[in-house]
Amino acid sequence: MSLTTAHSVVAPSANSKRIAGAIIIAYALISIVPLLWIFATSFKTPPDSIAYPPKIVFQPSIEGYCNLFTTRTRQTPEYINSLGPATGFCDETVRKRNMVIAGPSNFLPRFVNSLIIAFGSTFCAVFLGTLSAYGFSRFKVPLADDLLFFILSTRFMPPIAVAIPIYLMYRELGLSDTALGMILLYTAVNVSLAVWLLKGFIDEIPREYEEAAMIDGYTRLQAFWRTVLPQATTGIAATAIFCLIFAWNEYAFAALLTSGTAQTAPPFIPTIIGEGGQDWPAVAAGTTIFLVPILVFTILLRKQLLRGITFGAVRK
C-alpha cells in the first residue's frame, strides 16, 4: 500500500537507497573485474596477455584453451613441414609456434578428480548432516547439547592446523593421493557445518508433518523421506553450496595429500605456468573452466541460497 510506504519510518528514504545502490555497484565492479580479466586473458594469445599497456581490445584466440588441454613439444620447422596438413585449429596454432601436440594434458583428469571429490564429499556431508540433524532435532539424544558443541568445536581451528597428523595418518592408511581419502577428509571438515545448518532448518519444520504421515500408515523413514525432506530442500541446497564451495576451492590439503592420480584442479592449475614459459592464457583458461561448475550450481540454487543464508532471521 502506498500509504504505508510513503510515510513509513522503517523503509529507507530515496536518498539512502541511492547511496546504497551506488555502494553495491562499486563493490560489485571491484569484485567482478578480476574475474572478467581472467576470462579475457583466457582468450588472448600469449604475447597479448603480457602486452604493456594491457590490451583491452584484442583479437580473441583459443590458444590458451589449446595449451590447457594439450602437451606440446618444440620441433624444427623441417619436421613440422614434413607432417601432413594440420588436423584442427589447435594443431594449426601450435605449429605456428614451432611446436606439435604430443598428447592430452593432465587438466581434464584433474578437473574430473575435482568434480568427483567435491561433489562426492558434498553428497556425503549433506547426507550425514541431514540424518544427524534430523536425529538431534527429533529424538531425545543423550548429551545432545554436548555432542552438538563437540561437533561445532571441530571447526574451532583451521583444518590445515592438523595437516601434518593427517598427512602421516593417510600415508599409514594408504589414503594418500586417493579420491576416497580426499572425499573422507572434506566430508569430515564439512559435516559439522552441515549438521548445524540443517538442524536449524529441520527444527523449523513442525514435527506434526511426520506424525501425520506416521499415523497415515508410513514408517518413520518414509515419513522423513516424503514430508521432511521436501520441506528441507531450501536448507539442503544452501548447505550443499557451502560444502561444495569449500571442497571445490580447497587448495592446501589437496596440494599436500595429492600429487598424482587423485590430484584436484586447484593444485594443478598453478603448475601449468611452468610448462614452456609463462603461459598466462592457459592458466586463465584453466581458472575459467574451473569456475564454471560452481557458478552453474550456485545459479541453479540461488533462490534457495538466498533464503538459506537469511533463514531464521524472520519467524513465520
Binding site: E211, D216, R226
Partner: protein, 370 residues
C-alpha cells in the same frame, strides 16, 4: 468404526505426571470431547491413543484389540492436528490421497475416493489448488478430508479449530457436528473451549492436572458438576460459590448461608461437619427483596437479551444473569432468590459434589478419582 476403551492410563515425563489413572469408554460412533485448561493432560491422552506417545502404564483398546504398544501406523486411526499439518509441497488432491498411497491403493481408486471425500466436504473445486493459498476454513476441510478418506476406526482431533478466526470457528463447529451426524465416526476431540465442547459433544471428559474430574454428557456436566473445578471451568460466567459451615444429614432440604435459610435439593448422604460451598449458576439467581440473602450491586455487563450483574455479598462477589430490562444502579441493596431445584453442594476440602436429589436421574455424573 470402533469403540475406544482406556483403562488406568498413565503417563509420566520424568517426575511430572501428565496423565494419571484415566478411565473412560468412547462408544462406537460417539463424539467424545476432552476438555480442560492447557497442561491438563488432554493432548497427551490423545497422543497416547494415536500412538505418538507410549503410556507409562495402563491399556488402550481399540475395537476390543489391545493397541497400547502398537505403532501409530498399525492402529488404523486418523488424526487432525491443530496446525493441520497439510504438506505444503503437495496440492489438495495429493494431501487427501496421501494416506491411501501408504496402503498401496491403485491410483484410479485413490482418485475416486479423494473425489468422493472432497465432495462430502464441499472442497471438490479446490482439488488441484496448492494448500498454501487456502483460507483457514478450507485448510481445515482438507485436513478433515485426509482424515476421513481412509475410513479409519476412529478420528482424533487436537484443537483443530484453535487457529481459526471466530467466524470460521462457529461455521466449522456446525460443519464438524453435521459431518459426524452423517458418517457416525467414533471421534475424540480435544479442546480448551467449553463452547466447542458443549455444542459438539455426545460425551465430555473434563480434565485437570492429569485427572479426569468428570465424565458425562454436556447436560450432566453443566447441571450436575462433580467437582468445584468442573463447576468453575464450565459456564460463562462460571458457577458462583457461597461458603457455609456445618455438616449435612441425609434427607436435609435446607441449609443456612450468611444467616439466610436456603432450600436445596434433598441431600442423599451424610456429611461430617466441614467447610462447604453452595454452587449457584448465574441464571438461577433472581432479585427478590423478600429474600434474606442480601448483597449490593457492584456492576453490570449488558449483553442484549440478558445482563450479568455482579453482586457483592458477605462472601465475595457473585454474578447473576437476569433479564436486560431490569434497571439496577451500583450500590443498590438487593435480595437474592435462588432456584432451589438447581443448586449444587460441594465439600470445599475435596472439591467433591455432595449427592443430592439432583443426582437421582444421573448414573454417570460421578467423578472418577484415581
Amino acid at each position: 468404526m470402533a469403540e475406544i476403551r482406556v483403562q488406568h492410563l498413565r503417563k509420566a515425563f520424568g517426575d511430572f505426571v501428565a496423565v494419571q489413572d484415566s478411565n473412560f469408554v468412547v462408544e462406537d460412533g460417539e463424539f467424545f470431547v476432552m476438555l480442560g485448561p492447557s497442561g491438563c493432560g488432554k493432548t497427551t491422552t490423545l497422543r497416547m491413543i494415536a500412538g505418538l506417545e507410549l503410556p507409562t502404564g495402563g491399556e488402550i483398546l481399540l475395537g476390543g484389540e489391545d493397541v497400547t504398544m502398537l505403532r501409530a501406523r498399525e492402529r488404523d486411526i486418523a488424526f487432525v492436528f491443530q496446525l493441520f499439518a497439510l504438506y505444503p509441497h503437495m496440492n489438495v488432491r495429493k494431501n487427501i490421497g496421501f494416506p491411501l498411497l501408504a496402503q498401496g491403493m491403485p491410483s484410479a481408486e485413490i482418485r475416486t475416493r479423494v473425489e468422493e471425500t472432497a465432495k462430502l466436504l464441499r472442497i471438490d473445486h479446490l482439488l488441484n489448488k496448492s494448500v498454501s493459498g487456502l483460507a483457514g476454513g478450507d485448510r481445515q476441510r482438507v485436513a478433515l478430508g485426509r482424515a476421513i478418506v481412509r475410513r479409519p476406526k476412529c478420528f482424533l482431533m487436537d484443537e483443530p479449530l484453535g487457529t481459526l478466526d471466530t467466524e470460521f470457528r462457529d461455521l466449522m463447529v456446525h460443519e464438524l457436528r453435521e459431518l459426524h451426524n452423517r458418517i457416525h465416526a467414533t471421534t475424540v476431540y480435544v479442546t480448551h473451549d467449553q463452547m466447542e465442547a458443549m455444542s459438539m459433544a455426545d460425551k465430555i471428559a473434563v480434565m485437570n492436572h492429569g485427572v479426569i474430574e468428570q465424565f458425562g454428557s454436556p447436560r450432566e456436566i453443566y447441571d450436575r458438576p462433580a467437582t468445584m473445578f468442573v463447576a468453575d471451568f464450565i459456564g460463562s460466567p462460571p458457577m458462583n460459590f457461597l461458603g457455609f459451615g456445618g455438616g449435612l444429614a441425609k434427607g436435609a432440604k435446607e441449609i443456612v448461608v450468611q444467616g439466610a435459610k436456603v432450600a436445596v435439593p434433598e441431600v442423599r448422604e451424610d456429611i461430617a461437619p466441614a467447610d462447604m460451598a453452595l454452587g449457584i449458576r448465574p441464571e438461577h439467581i433472581r432479585f427478590d427483596d423478600a429474600s434474606k440473602l442480601r448483597g449490593a450491586i457492584y456492576g453490570t455487563e449488558y449483553l442484549g437479551t440478558t445482563q450479568i450483574v455482579a453482586v457483592e455479598t458477605a462472601d465475595g462477589i457473585i454474578k447473576a444473569r437476569v433479564p436486560a430490562e431490569i434497571r439496577l444502579n451500583a450500590g443498590d441493596h438487593v435480595g437474592l432468590a435462588l432456584n432451589s431445584a438447581r443448586l449444587s453442594l460441594f465439600d470445599k476440602g475435596s472439591g467433591r459434589a455432595v449427592r443430592t436429589a439432583v443426582h437421582d436421574t444421573a448414573s454417570q455424573g460421578r467423578a472418577q478419582h484415581g
